[in-house]
């Protein structure tokens, strides 16, 4: 299985995400934001956390217009799997691959801590190894993780079971306690918490590992 991890200027979790994919058995290619093509025979693209372009305009907005993102969008539209973590989630909503927006945290401060999440659906390649309703602990680290969308979109996300994770104790004011959502074809996942920071016992927990290994299993059997 092959994963590509994109580096934008200001990405700072690109290595961490690559390590997580590798831990789950992926062969990882690193891709630069100015590249105009993704590697061949790719199974998944990872958009990492960080502060792409300094988050100076609106989080993820400039990165969403980087040359590589045209390819990421095309890849997703062809049915490819895409995982966006933290800043990567912000990029995904800016590309339109996922609905809604990520606003400044309700507390107005950066928040970094392990949080409890409820797995809302096991119906995706990312969440297949979890049981719906399970509580997992995965760290967050963001200033703009307050997910918002119009009422109709929120209803649709609920109705189509596209909310992947919800916060048990909402750290940022997200509508419906939403921590991560899936695309309509369930192959694009955007989430604010960092599963790549919970894959090794040294991290204090390994609840994030099942996301990567579950994806690997799903892609092998697909």
């Amino acid at each position: 299985m092959r994963a590509a991890v994109v580096t934008f200027p200001g990405s700072n979790c690109d290595r961490d995400l690559a390590v997580a994919f590798e831990t789950a058995g992926f062969e990882v290619e690193r891709v630069w934001h100015k590249d105009t093509a993704l590697p061949d025979n790719l199974d998944v693209v990872g958009l990492p956390g960080g502060f792409s372009f300094g988050d100076y305009l609106r989080c993820g907005a400039i990165a969403a217009n980087a040359p590589i993102c045209r390819e990421v969008i095309a890849f997703a539209k062809r049915g490819g799997h895409v995982l966006g973590v933290c800043n990567g989630f912000q990029v995904l909503v800016e590309t339109g691959l996922l609905p809604g927006a990520l606003m400044r945290n309700a507390g107005l401060r950066f928040v970094c801590k392990p949080v409890a999440l409820k797995v809302e659906t096991e119906l995706s390649a990312f969440t297949g190894l979890y049981d719906s309703g399970t509580e997992v602990t995965i760290p967050v680290a963001h200033h703009d993780g307050n997910y918002q969308a119009d009422a109709e979109t929120l209803r649709m996300l609920d109705a189509e079971a596209r909310v992947a994770f919800r916060y048990c104790d909402n750290p940022n004011g997200s509508a419906g306690d939403i921590a991560g959502i899936l695309s309509e074809n369930r192959r694009v996942l955007g989430m604010m918490p960092h599963p790549e920071r919970a894959i090794d016992p040294l991290h204090g927990g390994t609840d994030g590992l099942a996301l990567f290994s579950g994806l690997a299993e799903a892609l092998v059997s697909a």
């Binding site: 200027p9 700072n12 979790c13 997580a20 502060f51 300094g54 970094c112 200033h143 790549e196 894959i199």
Partner: protein, 719 residues
Amino acid sequence: MTEPAMTEDLIAAHGLKPEEYAEILRILNRDPNFTELGIFSAMWNEHCSYKSSKKWLRTLPTEGPQVICGPGENAGVVDIGDGQAVVFKMESHNHPSYIEPYQGAATGVGGILRDVFTMGARPIAAMNSLSFGMPDHPKTRSVVSGVVAGVGGYGNCFGVPTIGGEVRFHPAYNGNCLVNAFAAGLADANAIFYSAASGVGMPVVYLGAKTGRDGVGGATMASAEFDETIEEKRPTVQVGDPFTEKRLMEACLELMQTGAVISIQDMGAAGLTCSAVEMGDKGGLGIRLDLDRVPQRETGMTPYEMMLSESQERMLMVLRPEKEAEARAVFDKWDLDFAIVGETIPEDRFLIEHQGRIVADLPLATLAGSAPEYDRPWVPTPAAEPLAPVPEIDPIDALKALISSPNYAHKAWVYEQYDQMVMADTVIAPGLGAGVVRVHGTSKALAFTSDVTPRYVRANPVEGGRQAVAEAYRNLTAVGATPLAATDNLNFGNPEKPEIMGQLVGAIQGIGEACKALDMPIVSGNVSLYNETDGEPILPTPTIGAVGLIEDLEHIIARPARAGHVLLLLGETTGHLGQSALLAEVFNREDGDAPHVDLEAERRHGAFIRANRDWIDACTDLSDGGLALAAFEMAETAEVGLVLEPGDTATYFGEDQGRYLIACSFDKAEALMVAAGRAGVPLTSVGRFTGDKLRLGTSEAPLAELSTLYRGAFAAALG
């Protein structure tokens, strides 16, 4: 533009004493021009020249088999085995942080990160030691929220985990907060980059962000009329851009891989001036700069402004000429400025050209090497008055008073604003004691701590200096690490006052003694003097940042205590209450002497912990707050109740040094007692973990109630 005349006021406005100006005249055999005066003032100010402290800093131990590079470069370099090195330093950004808390703190973090990656190391950990005025002082809340947000804003975006630090409050910092930023990076021991230029005719290359007028005069003191020409145009506090710094780091590390870099120096205080002079001086070369080629953010900048600008995120390099195209490509990739602004020259000159004119022509080696050095008069700090009697107090009431003070409350409000886990190697996140990060891709780890107890230093600078080092040693030991080396950030008042100078001299003596005895050489550091407002000095605050090595993570001490565990106390308890947290927080008194530090005992006890670390589940050192606070913190972390043996106020809250608390099973405790007997160290059982209450002798409270108090107090006071 006409240059200002060399008046006494102008000279004084540059922080130069008449005798220092006379020295300039002697060196040049003529009057300096305005730009040259600025250059001298930048090189000779306290910040760059250490003119008041140099004599004493020389007494510190700086060598050891583990030291690859001691003080004098951008940061210290220490061997951690397997061909790897840790590169670290701590530096203050006090004054800017009080004027503009967010940017002051942010650029403090940026500056120290640059010091580390300039040496070829990728930053892997940051810490911040912060001292603020009292929470009820009108400025404190805004300073705290700005500083903490600024530290986070820069470090989080740059992508370095903040894994430790300190936060304290005391009225002596009401008008003068302290922001001491520490950073550590990882490098290959054979790929460290230094600042000494070599080779004649080598291109001097400017990298990174453009030069603006920000920070002009930041390293010197400006007068009123000076304000009209320079100061009012732009703020003196620089503005940080962590996004540019992140790219600058990636580009520099990438460039270093190509073999293009002969030497490199970041532009920090007094920017272009200090960095160019440093590179030339260390290499025994002259430097010629053409200011027209300096990337500029604004038009019409004068040579004076360009030479003294403290714009952030800039680097100067001496490059192998044949590698220019390769180097330029790296910087193009990261969309950063790359400009050849000068060259190395054989003669001893610092030659600055601007618009076809020579605007400064100074003897470079003399400029770098002849900074004044003072042996300032000092008086030893008088012995502290004996401690007045301390009344007995209910220990639970006293503990509640401590943990509801922002000084001893849980600091999650602060740490949660810092990314503690980016790079995914954090093993122990900040909170209590040392932070630990894994050395990426290995089973080794590095432990980091920063410590000082300013009350002790004021009462007794020598003991206080020793204690800061000893506490750092203990914090590293308590996670199972072997202390390797330290960096010192010495924050004091006005050194022209003999009693302040006496504090500095005493503290350096104590630090030196402890570093020698505990084998923790000082490999880098920074001195910040003149921390006074309206003649009132801060508490003397010599912050010690220290680094330890855990050779294999199997030996880390990082498990929580569990129900059924025994609590053991290593070290002698005499009940020293002088200058204690209990006195300050409960009785509003700061009297008595600082506790004595027995360095031999520290060494023995540290060695005992390390030798037996596989039997120890949880460990913490005892510092201010004594046995009761340390035991509470251990129980609170583990979320399990604790029963402590009966004791009096001095037993529970005394701050005797050289002590640790150990939690482990009964079987292991027996083995440890035997080992302690053999090693000749005092180890006693003082309690056991059980139930859901904290019991101190006959007084008790539900742990949950104490925990709520402890976790809510900081936000209640400052949120």
